[in-house]
Symmetry: C2
């Protein structure tokens, strides 16, 4: 008999009396005085485990059922019955229980049926998917990723995977990981004794990408609507709860678009993916609201129901200056907004997500489009209550002369960007895009405190076991 | 007036007489003696460009329209009319044409409206998406990727992104890329003068992953049905048409599954994604069949319509030995099959895709499950006419004692695999999975000759501009 998912049984797919086979891992076992054991079995298909009622009449009751502990692998057959327990819909009256694997030394098995600290679970990253919380994070993460792809597909965008290994990005190389096949113990040298990078795999220095944006622009300027969804890397030696060395980014790029269209797309995307989570992962979200972050559900509901505010950066500065609030970093025009400012704006002032637009030129990247005022660029950040910045984007400078001027002002050598300049020489069009850090989206959705819990295997400086 | 996609106009979404705005890049311009210009405009939304009819009465006819050349960025407004040209459904009678960007020096613009060699186009990877063929590849690639995600989602699988940077895979390190933040010009040294890897970012040697399989097994053994779809890397210094340094892999893993279930899943996946391409990308596939590979469509149709054959490896060896055909590599039991053997089997012998199962233990990886005969393992390859191997998979060795014995026999130090052994110590269950190289899937679908044309930006040893 083909096995079925626990999700399907709990959802009532099989009428009472049906014979089914389910498979999974034991969460708990409880033996009743009436001569029965209750085994909670999880297969990860949904948040809840199913209760298997195992009678003493099973041939292997003493030898196997009474040895079951958290983590054991089990195949159970039996008939679907209505559950007597509260909150449970259906359970299974077992006619057979087969154990595929017991747990070696159950006393020391790391995933006991009790709360564990997130710090401890990071040390057993290969076993933490068996906990309630990491099962829920994994399903929500999947739901978000699927919704991202579906949103773009339905709206005519093409997925582009931009290079992971890059040789072109000279900017900020200090925070990049080097990729090399050189033998460190025996480095090739030039005549002058310097390391000879021409002997490396790509014939030059190569690094892990920090963003696919520049590369995806080339595809945008041929296919009009494109997006990346792939890994990016930052070698920041940081142990904060907000940084990862390896993380996934979503970067759409739209041709014939300005900053307003860019903000509209970001708003539509965020609302779409949060709606998907509310519709498809109510079980996991109820757990987050109960155990992790009280407002986990309500803040997503507010997010999808209200139009985002639009605020000009210069207006935001005035609001902050006139707020009467004392900030750690005093506010003045020309500065980058800090998290304290961003959270004040959306949490105290507008009370909902806000797009802040048109930032001072000097604090923004060279590829952002200069506004007619000559001192701001068409950049935007989307700020959300409870987290601050969640999206950063801009209209790109499509005018070659202004791009060149901006690069010169910022001491960026155009020799690394000839191909990027070509995109402006050959049929330039206005275009815009944004970046959304995928793990940041997961952190916000689940109400997590630490971004390392939003990725299946956290990469930590000085500690990466996998 | 909001712009619409050329795909929608050609599909007849807007009735004749409607006013529409379209945007894109000029493919060709032709001036008629009757005092009209015909401008073919592409926006990448579908294979075909749309014809814009530009009358001399346009205010900027002389100044702009007559200067239009391949690659120019254009916004055209006008009314939808039925096309007089054959093969075209609708065209646009322009009331205005706005040029957002001309092409600098049209004579030297690399993407002329004429055939280019694939070799040449690899040198202008940032502009090649503007060609017919790379537009088509990009859309088909997108269609395949979406279908992969959709197939797994509909079947209850969760997407897991396994680590890109890994410190655990000791096997085959010679073909891996090192990831490091050490300063090559000034390497830290131990007391004994060796390179001090403990000073590196992760406190030890780190590399780019060659496969997510081992890592995804941990998630499989908690969530039952999972898959990866992410980049993997091989530092093979190869210029062949079959290898990439950077490529994407799809690796599903199923709990409580054996090799037969694994093969069934692979067959269902391949048929699903090819059906999606046939349904959704008929325009691009018609181009491939006409210009690239005559059988591009018919072989996909055969693929989805026939059940795959199942052949035991030992039986395959006998078939090859009795074939009367002279192979470059003579066939004997125990050898790995070469492409010539694989193609003979599926092209000459069975005439459709085939799953070859149960390979000799000594030619397969340590994690594959030993069969009861003691000399073969539960491994499979799926072979397709016209390409050879397209999927490789296995049931995993879930029995710790046999896994340990296999590792010892192959001189693999278990110290690197304690976490992987844990998965067998704690509630082991039978499980299986496979790997499908995504670019190989694109190559096969589009009928391409070189795998470097299946990825948006090819990474070539000694030549990586991006």
């Amino acid at each position: 008999m083909a096995a079925v998912s626990i999700k399907a049984v709990l959802a009532g797919t099989y009428p009472v009396g049906s014979e089914v086979t389910v498979q999974g891992w034991v969460r708990t076992r409880r033996d009743s005085k009436a001569g029965l054991s209750f085994v909670n079995l999880s297969d990860g298909s949904c948040f809840d485990p199913i209760q298997i009622v195992a009678p003493t009449s099973l041939a292997n009751y003493d030898s196997d059922v009474l040895r079951l502990s958290a983590g054991c692998g089990v195949i159970a057959r039996g008939s679907v019955v209505e559950s007597q327990g509260k909150g449970q819909s259906f359970e299974i009256q077992a006619s057979s229980i087969e154990v595929t694997g017991f747990v070696d030394d159950p006393e020391t098995y790391p995933i006991q049926p009790k709360p564990h600290s997130m710090e401890f679970l990071r040390e057993v990253a290969h076993l933490r998917p068996r906990t309630n919380i990491f099962g829920a994070i994994t399903r929500v993460r999947h739901c978000l990723a699927q919704a991202v792809h579906r949103f773009f597909h339905e709206n005519g965008y093409y997925w582009i995977n931009t290079p992971i290994i890059t040789t072109s990005d000279a900017e900020g190389a200090g925070q990049m990981f080097r990729v090399s096949t050189l033998d460190l113990a025996n480095l090739p040298r030039t005549d002058k004794g310097a390391v000879d990078h021409s002997k490396d795999f790509f014939g030059k220095d190569a690094f892990l990408t920090v963003s696919g944006q520049l590369n995806v622009e080339a595809y945008c300027l041929a296919l009009s609507k494109v997006y990346t969804f792939g890994p990016t890397f930052r070698a920041e030696n940081s142990q904060t709860s907000r940084h990862l060395a390896e993380f996934w980014m979503i970067e759409p790029e739209i041709a014939f678009a300005d900053l307003a269209a860019d903000a509209d797309l970001a708003e539509a995307l965020l609302k779409y993916v949060f709606r998907a989570v509310l519709n498809e992962r109510a079980d996991d979200m109820a757990f987050f609201a109960e155990r992790v972050e009280k407002t986990a559900i309500s803040r997503l509901e507010n997010f999808v129901n209200e139009p985002f505010a639009r605020i000009d950066y210069s207006e935001a500065v005035k609001i902050l200056q006139n707020s009467g609030k004392k900030f750690e970093f005093p506010v003045e025009w020309g500065m980058d907004l800090q998290t304290e400012h961003e959270r004040f704006l959306v949490e105290q002032h507008v009370g909902r997500p806000a797009v802040v637009m048109n930032y001072p030129e000097q604090i923004k990247a060279f590829y952002m489009r200069l506004n007619d005022d000559g001192k701001t660029v068409a950049a935007m950040d989307i700020l959300a209550p409870g987290i601050g910045e969640i999206v950063g984007g801009s209209q790109r400078e499509e005018r070659l002369d202004l791009l060149d001027a901006r690069m010169a002002k910022m001491n960026i050598d155009p020799v690394h960007y000839q191909w990027y300049r070509d995109l402006r020489r050959y049929g330039t069009v206005p275009h815009a895009g944004f970046g959304l850090g995928f793990e940041r989206l997961v952190v916000y959705t689940c109400g997590l405190a630490n971004i390392r819990d939003a990725i299946p295997y956290p990469r930590v400086p000085g500690h990466a076991e996998f």
